[in-house]
């Protein structure tokens, strides 16, 4: 495969898929895409698929890599357990990071502790890395009385101010200009803070991607744009999302830095993030990081990918598992062995089990008043009156809280 030599091992079957004709009339005129930008943005990599690395390319000492591995293991264990819980009906919804762990752990590890993180909705491990207690995260999944966001949002919509982890919201792209505004504000205040903002390949089509890139570029705002290119937006494959061979090249529309990185190589992601942050601090403005990875499972627990995605597309990615890769690296380096790894995984499992027990022990519902608080800094007439209205209605007729009552 010629491109192989040109751009290094192709990590992205979607690139091949992109050679296929598009659906619709356009088929008649389909022509193979250019490879120019694949050459301009070769995929940055530190670890090969067997976890081998050129020591010169590794920034981090072994003792710093091990925790990254642990966070990735925790993320995967959490995802697996929560999907199970959702199937059992114990939580209503879950959206995981299966196979994309390196994109999030590597970027968050590459930023400074004071940098603000603007999440999409898969970056739970980033909130944990920033000190969000695992138990608190589970409270959020249950939307229970201990939930830091008071049961107001769906599961997986956490927010954690002490760790500068912003509020997850569902609308695609909205966090992007906000990340620009925060970093711009920091510069105005004379503080060295660089925003890290997460989004997916689909989000590059959103209004907010365009305005965020424009605004950041024209004033060289210090932002790291971390695009998890996992090849899919729910059922929409990359080649139906855009006609470009890379996402990195979108940086040319704004005149900003970009890199294309192996998103399953946590060391490469970490190093690229460091470079992006350094450029931002040096006043060179934002960097667009295209982190090439793959969504190994459904979009969320509400989704079944078998309806639109042949297993054959997923197969090649299984041997690229980001966790296995850094695990082999640590084994090679001799700082991890089977016994230590087993202990580490046991710890993680125990943490999860304990946190889960704690979360399920809490009263399932936040107080009624929490529904009317914090709409405004202080409730207005409407919130005050309506709380009274609801309280007396409930006193009259507790069926109001009964989910089964009167459902058509």
């Amino acid at each position: 495969m010629r491109r192989e030599e040109e751009v290094g091992p192709d990590l992205d079957p979607a690139l091949d898929a992109r050679q296929a004709p598009l659906p619709g009339r356009s088929e008649r005129t389909a022509e193979p895409r250019a490879t120019r930008f694949l050459r301009e943005f070769p995929i940055q990599r530190v670890l090969d698929e067997d976890g081998r690395a050129d020591p010169a390319a590794v920034l981090l000492p072994d003792e710093a890599v091990r925790p990254l591995y642990r966070w990735m293991v925790l993320s995967r264990a959490l995802d697996e357990r929560m999907v199970m819980l959702q199937r059992q009906g114990r939580i209503g919804f879950y959206v995981g990071l299966f196979g994309e762990e390196a994109t999030v752990v590597g970027t968050t590890a590459g930023m400074g502790d004071g940098d603000w993180i603007f999440p999409c909705y898969r970056e739970h491990v980033a909130s944990l890395m920033r000190g969000f207690p695992l138990t608190a995260f589970l409270h959020n999944l249950f939307g229970n009385s201990a939930d830091v966001v008071k049961g107001r949002q769906m599961p997986c919509h956490e927010a954690w101010r002490p760790g500068h982890f912003m509020s997850v919201s569902s609308p695609i792209g909205t966090q992007l200009p906000q990340a620009v505004g925060a970093a711009w504000a920091a510069r105005i205040k004379g503080e060295e803070m660089v925003s890290l903002v997460y989004f997916g390949d689909g989000a590059t089509s959103s209004h907010d991607f365009h305005t965020a890139m424009s605004f950041a570029a024209v004033r060289r705002v210090p932002v790291v744009f971390a695009c998890r290119n996992n090849g899919w937006a729910i059922s929409t494959p990359l080649e139906q999302q855009m006609a470009t061979e890379t996402i990195a090249q979108k940086a040319h529309a704004y005149g900003v830095r970009a890199e294309r990185v192996d998103g399953n190589d946590v060391l490469a992601v970490h190093a690229a993030t460091r470079r992006a942050r350094a450029a931002a601090v040096a006043g060179q403005g934002p960097t667009l990081l295209e982190l090439v990875t793959y969504r190994m499972e459904g979009h969320s627990t509400s989704d079944d990918p078998r309806a639109y995605r042949p297993e054959t597309l997923v197969e090649p990615w299984k041997k690229k598992d980001p966790i296995q890769r850094v695990r082999s690296y640590l084994f090679r380096r001799g700082v991890l062995d089977e016994a230590a790894d087993a202990r580490l995984r046991d710890e993680v499992r125990d943490e999860l089990v304990a946190a889960l027990r704690e979360a399920e022990s809490r009263p399932p519902k936040p107080p009624l008043a929490s529904m009317f608080d914090e709409v405004y800094a202080a409730p207005l007439r409407q919130q005050r009156e309506q709380l009274d209205e609801l309280e007396s209605a409930l006193a009259d007729d507790p069926r109001i809280s009964d989910p089964r009552h009167a459902d058509a």
Binding site: S169, P171, H207, I234, Y308, M371, L394, D397
Partner: protein
Amino acid sequence: MPVLNVLQAVNDALKVEMRRNRDVVVLGEDVGRFGGVFRATQGLFEEFGADRVIDTPLAEGGIVGTAIGMALYGLRPVPEIQFADYIFPAMDQLVNEAAKYRYRSGGQYSCPMVVRAPYGGGIKGGHYHSQSPEAHFIHTPGLKVVVPSNPHDAKGLLLSALRDPDPVLFFEPKRVYRAAKGEVPAGEYLEPLGKARITRTGAQVTILAWGAMWHEADQAAREAAAEGIDCEVIDLRSLQPLDLDTIVASVSKTGRAVVVHEAPRTCGFGAELSALIQERCFLHLEAPVARVTGFDTPFPYTLENEYLPRAPRILRAVREALAY
């Protein structure tokens, strides 16, 4: 007659019209090969092909803007907004373009299309999979707004919308997408836009509702009957145009009205209904027009049952109106 749920009825209406009219095209996120996240467009891609069933990039403003262009050129686009909560990126194209195109061009151009969007709460969707934005569009002259409550109307109203000369927002009650089942005639039939349906006749209180909340209104009326209160229930079905004659006739008879909707109360469509009723039935009113609505907060998650204006709260308002 086949028994369908609301999703199947919507799907059936799209198939019927797409077979009849080659100009009807469906576009949106995940509507093609996948058939939509709720599967409302299932089977369309296979039957009508990629030209007429279009998976788009992720941008609602682009979906609606493109649909306007298609409509201007003579197609009948049916853009899908995956959740009504995500219609706001398309707000400018809807309010400043679709709504005004016929008027501002002196009638030279028009952009008939049907914007489909599942709306409302009751599926544990939290802030962003539960909103009811209908009031924004009812406040925008040039747009029509339709909300079916059952499979029969979903199909009949959608078929009418697909032949309407104006842009129509078609909000589908996702809470009862599967729960509301009923007999749906095969093939073609039209439910006119702008006609409400009196689903229960009564003498003492008129309950106005639409979409998913009609089921709560109906339940409340049945419970009221058990208490000896005789309610009339009107399913508005079409909010713009509005069947004001039916409403005025009913309230002039009962002298009492309770309006029900999921959207926050302040500036919701209930306010307009309340204003219209007191303007037209002033001398007949025995009690203030009551509003039983979602509260003035974002849509909550854990407490969504408490948030929704369900039967017990409606019943309470009915009793209060009677006792006024």
